[in-house]
Symmetry: C2
Subunit: 713 residues, 2 copies
């Protein structure tokens, strides 16, 4: 499997997701290993498709029976009466490889491989998986699995899947799609959705991902009319090109992606290689990619389905704001807290409208949340007035009505419902949400009226906030070009600090003025020329982390001190790194008064070069307060990273300091991101620490830099 | 209402919560304003109690009717045939006050006041509320409300409440109690609980809390056999003595308290008074009190009821650890993530047991989570072996079985259930939790077997983790005495820095060596005596925040510099604070190399003196990284506060520094907490900033201190 490449099938463009149509929306499907017993793995898909009226042709392959579950069966792939669009492979190891070859020879374009015992088991299995892949590749076939549970596309009754979930019910039709690396968890999500009455028309589980990846499954949904909302479950993103292209396509087609990403580090061995990398952890990198593409990360299945449920209405307010009508003051406070926590504004009602409502019920609270009190519930016409005022005068893109058990009350709810129906009918572009405790049937009625219904008001608020985040994201200008990549020629080996800084300076990351000095006299001359105070550092290609051996001396005030520092540095190097090649010392202008930042690049095994920025010292080391982004990016995106730091106030004039030159810092960071891409895969990491950011207008300068080159490239 | 006092009724000890028995578990109840119409506010309680078979005597009071809802009615309180334990007051304003007086005169001990229009409306209402309170107090009566929805105690069919919620069903019997300041939200919680099948036997809503507070409602539940688990909803804690005593009693009786606390700041005007206070905000103080008493804070109703549901089993593992048996590897990863996030350990299975399980299914994952794969579901005896190994060999106090839809499968679940029943029967002391998707009836069956059932595995994990937190908390030794309070005599006015430090030093918070110097010559002599470098600060009772006017000069190296600093300080004071009385300068030994901390005390209007500690500089100012605790407390508790800081690693040897003298810091902080209590209510705040913490064994010293005295006391 290529680390940073696309899918295996060379014939398909990585963004041609419609190429999976033959797999997900076929006109015919062969079942290799078809069983007459509808409870067996090779029999379930046939039973399911017969029960659900698959709209294509179902072609069982079984050498031992003339019929399978009442259908004519064929003795071999060769005996099939037509070339199937897709095939299910449900036969053991070697037979599966043979079947793939036979299918390819017939011209079949796609296979869904249930068979287990491949790379998920051991090395021998991995070798067998390679042969399976090779068979597919030989014929330009696409493959789902092996070791996958399968997929379903309920829109056409296509069920190449052996899950037992359907025992408890078939999918409800709707516009939600599920893409999952885990078969069991994918169908768990489907089952929870069904239990909640949510329509999930397509579900694809990717198993071992020897060919079709999670990214491609998402990508197919991003272009398929069956799906408008995508739920994805990942344990680790194994390839980036398809994944990134899928998220980009989903954005362009205004289809929200909600993702659960679980599990331990995939950065693996690379994690400890550089200081920057040791702070990362793949999860932070994945999160940065999800942020880049406006994917919402759900922590639980429930949260994922709450958001998907809300998204299924396809109303994504660009500048979301919430108006709340409540029958409980307590709930109003709780909802306000939840909105603030979710970053969802609740602007105050217009004053005139507040006065009007106080005229109706003197002890109401009309600000927003609008508390109409129990009186409005008992005099239902008042409830109508309050609802009309909240939705109409307030003008909120999202309206939450908190009725709690009143929403399910047999005496009151039927009197309130007409007012709600009227209010909704007038404003179909709003996101209408009801928080109520009522029966499943009542929920359906309210949904038909145009409400989303949540029992828990906090969950309602979080789902509403999510719709606003999608709206803002879909409305955002897609970032322009990041600018031409610089021409970078990396040295053969890990460069010295001076060389590293020169490379970075050429790429647009300026360094503190400095000079490499081979002799003590040269060091004195350099210091005199740049003016005191200066900093002296040992200069050696073999000593990367100089401060660990006392290889940096600050605050050097005159020529005598330069000479003393020179001697001290050589002595320390001789003591602590006797094997190191010493090229002299580096004399640099000492810059005081800047804010110390750190930035760098690490190479993620999946996503390639990823930039990191953080405030120096405790912010990085104790608080892990850093931001990541895939390279390359432009200065505006770099600035957004910098502004996302918890410690950003320190750059923005906190504690009486002048505002720092964030613009210069952002430009350097963006330049570093272009450098990282231009440098290619031999660049293992870059650490610029400290990066000194002077007051606005005075620039930002690298005071130290380490570039590590990947060995063996 | 007294700010820091107990309940109004002078005759009752604040911890004698059983005194509310007459209100919550009465033998007889009068209804003032009884209505013959069971749908009206004055009629509903009677209808409810008749329907639910109230086990006491029901005495309607109505001057206009001989009977009410079929019961003999009485024309007045005076006409009642007996003295009722409790009374419901459902008549308007003045009549309510009269009724209270009449009831008190008859010897009735408690009233539940539905009547609204009191302090919640306006000043006139507040004045009327005072008269209502005075009437109750005159007769030693306890009062719930006014403006409350009422309460119910389903154990005896007692329903002095006018909620319409019962239209949709009566409470399920169980051991959960609900105490809520909001009537609507309290019954919302009850309704959600009923919907989920959770037993809530008692619900008390406290309304305006003119007498009985939320704390007392919790306290009654803490001692009542009807309740084992307490759910509380608060918008603001209005009195501390009853609240704290209630939480303490709940702890002693091993009854977990789960609280939702919503809403804006109650610190109100006090918030901005001192630097320390401006960082606080009442929520942080309330959180500190909840932490002190092991109360779990729920963010949503759902989370509150998840925890209450789990707690209703009354199994609180002291050293909780989770064993997981799963049929889905994906869910296993998700559960592991959730456990780590919840701080719930998942130790590995014993190696021998892992080997045994691999012998049963070669491709299983037996570490923990134990993934038995679909094979164990298809061969159910294997499932039994895996379950027995996980629970038996693993020895986990909590066991989570993830079955997802298999748990509801009509073909498989009945075969798996006997194995689960057996495993549970052998180990009744464990917390058994099942994550499954199944019908309500199936859930009931599993619950009868001994499982808690959650659909969502993350919610299951969070509830399990909560049980461990209760267990650890209940097992903890209650803190010993905090030591004798010092004798503190506060000066008449806000003291100078020198005086403040002297006061603190006497109380056990040592300061950096320093001397107040009235003349420049005295300053030089002081500096020479203590040794250079020294710090000079302006000395004035009128200048509290010296650094704001440049009133602190560091790094003074010799006598000449002392003279220069003296002149500079006087000049700056003359320029920036011309009205200030200048008493000279303070010369202090400059201590280098310590970690700068800040600590202090603020006076919370409800909880009294509250101590705060944080790391100096960015940690407090940018990150608000501070810990709070009610005063007084002992050094061990102080150390726990210090260790809870995000920046604690800086005191613990991070970044190559020596470990700081945390013990000395903790002792000083505990001493400060005793000082704050001993100083009494005239102490408005204390700010010690910086507090310099030297390496272990060398102590911690206040370098600056401000004590503010409350004016008007």
């Amino acid at each position: 499997m290529p680390a940073e490449g696309g899918p295996l099938s060379a014939g398909n463009s990585i963004v041609d997701f419609a190429a999976l149509d033959a797999m997900v929306r076929p006109r015919s499907v062969a079942v290799i290993g078809a069983s007459d017993d509808g409870t067996r793995i090779g029999g379930r898909p046939i039973a399911y498709m017969q029960s659900q009226g698959f709209q294509g042709r179902l072609l069982p392959v079984n050498p031992n029976r003339p019929t399978v579950q009442g259908l004519p069966a064929f003795a071999s792939v060769a005996a099939l009466p037509e070339v199937p669009d897709a095939a299910i492979i449900a036969v053991p190891g070697e037979a599966a490889i043979q079947a793939m070859d036979d299918l390819g020879a017939r011209g079949c374009k796609s296979a869904i491989v249930f068979t287990a015992g491949f790379a998920e088991v051991d090395e021998a299995g991995a070798a067998m998986q390679e042969r399976l892949v090779a068979a597919a590749r030989r014929h330009g076939m696409r493959m789902l699995g092996p070791n996958c549970l399968g997929l379903f596309n309920a829109a056409i009754g296509f069920y190449p899947i052996f899950s037992l979930s359907f025992e408890q019910g078939w999918p409800i039709r709707g516009n939600i799609g599920i893409a999952s690396q885990s078969g069991a968890y994918g169908t768990h999500v489907f089952a929870v959705a069904r239990q909640r009455g949510l329509g999930t028309t397509v579900c694809i589980t990717t198993g071992n991902e020897a060919d079709v990846s999670l990214g491609e499954a998402i990508g197919w949904m991003a272009q398929a009319p069956e799906v408008e909302v995508i739920c994805a479950y990942a344990e680790g993103i194994r390839e980036s090109a398809g994944f990134v292209a899928a998220l980009d396509l989903a954005r362009r087609n205004r289809k929200p992606v909600i993702m659960m990403k679980v599990g331990a580090s995939a950065l693996g061995g690379a994690a400890a290689k550089s200081h920057t990398a040791s702070i990362a952890g793949d999860d932070a990198v994945t999160q940065a990619v999800l942020d880049e593409f406006g994917v919402l990360r759900a922590r639980t299945t429930e949260e994922m389905l709450d958001i998907a449920y809300a998204a299924s209405r396809r109303i994504y307010p660009v500048r979301n704001a919430l108006g709340v009508l409540t029958v409980s003051g307590g709930a109003g406070v709780l909802i306000s807290d939840a909105s603030e926590a979710a970053g969802l504004p609740m602007p105050e009602m217009p004053q005139a409208s507040q006065d009007k409502l106080r005229g109706l019920i003197s002890f109401c609270a009309p600000r927003n949340p609008v508390d109409c009190t129990a009186q409005a519930v008992n005099q239902t016409a008042l409830f109508g007035d309050f609802l009309e005022a909240t939705a109409g005068d307030g003008g909120y893109p999202s309206v939450l009505v908190f009725l709690t058990q009143t929403g399910g009350s047999t005496s009151l709810a039927p009197k309130l419902r007409p007012f709600m129906r009227d209010a909704i009918a007038k404003r179909r572009d709003r996101l209408w949400v009801l928080s109520a405790i009522c029966s499943r049937e009542k929920v359906r009625e309210y949904e038909e009226d145009g409400f989303l219904v949540f029992e828990d008001p906090t969950r309602a608020v979080n789902a509403i906030a999510a719709m606003g985040r999608f709206g803002a994201y879909f409305a955002r200008q897609v970032a322009g070009a990041v600018g031409a990549l610089p021409s970078v020629v990396l040295p053969a080996q890990t460069p010295t600090e001076a060389e590293a800084k020169r490379l970075l300076a050429e790429a647009g990351v300026p360094a503190v003025p400095e000079r490499a000095c081979a002799s003590v006299d040269e060091a004195v001359r350099a210091a005199e020329a740049m003016g005191y105070p200066v900093v002296a550092k040992i200069l050696s290609p073999d000593i990367l982390h100089k401060s660990e051996i006392g290889g940096v001396i600050l605050n050097i005030a005159d020529a005598a001190a330069v000479r003393e520092a020179h001697a001290t540095l050589l002595a320390r190097a001789a003591q602590h790194a006797p094997q190191a090649r010493i090229e002299g010392v580096l004399i640099a202008k000492q810059i005081n008064g800047g804010v110390e930042m750190a930035f760098g690049v690490l190479r993620d095994p999946v996503f390639g070069p990823v930039a990191m920025v953080g405030l120096g010292g405790v912010f990085i080391e104790i608080l892990k307060d850093v931001a990541f982004r895939r390279c390359p990016f432009d200065p505006a995106q770099a600035e957004a990273m910098i502004r996302s730091l918890k410690g950003f106030p320190l750059l923005d004039g906190a504690r009486g300091k002048p505002k720092a030159d964030v613009k210069a810092l952002a430009e350097s960071l963006a330049a570093l991101s272009r450098f990282a891409v231009a440098a290619g895969p031999r660049l293992a990491s870059v650490d610029v620490n400290p990066m000194l950011v002077l007051p606005a207008g005075q620039g930002a300068f690298a005071a130290d830099a380490v570039i590590e080159i990947e060995e063996g490239h």
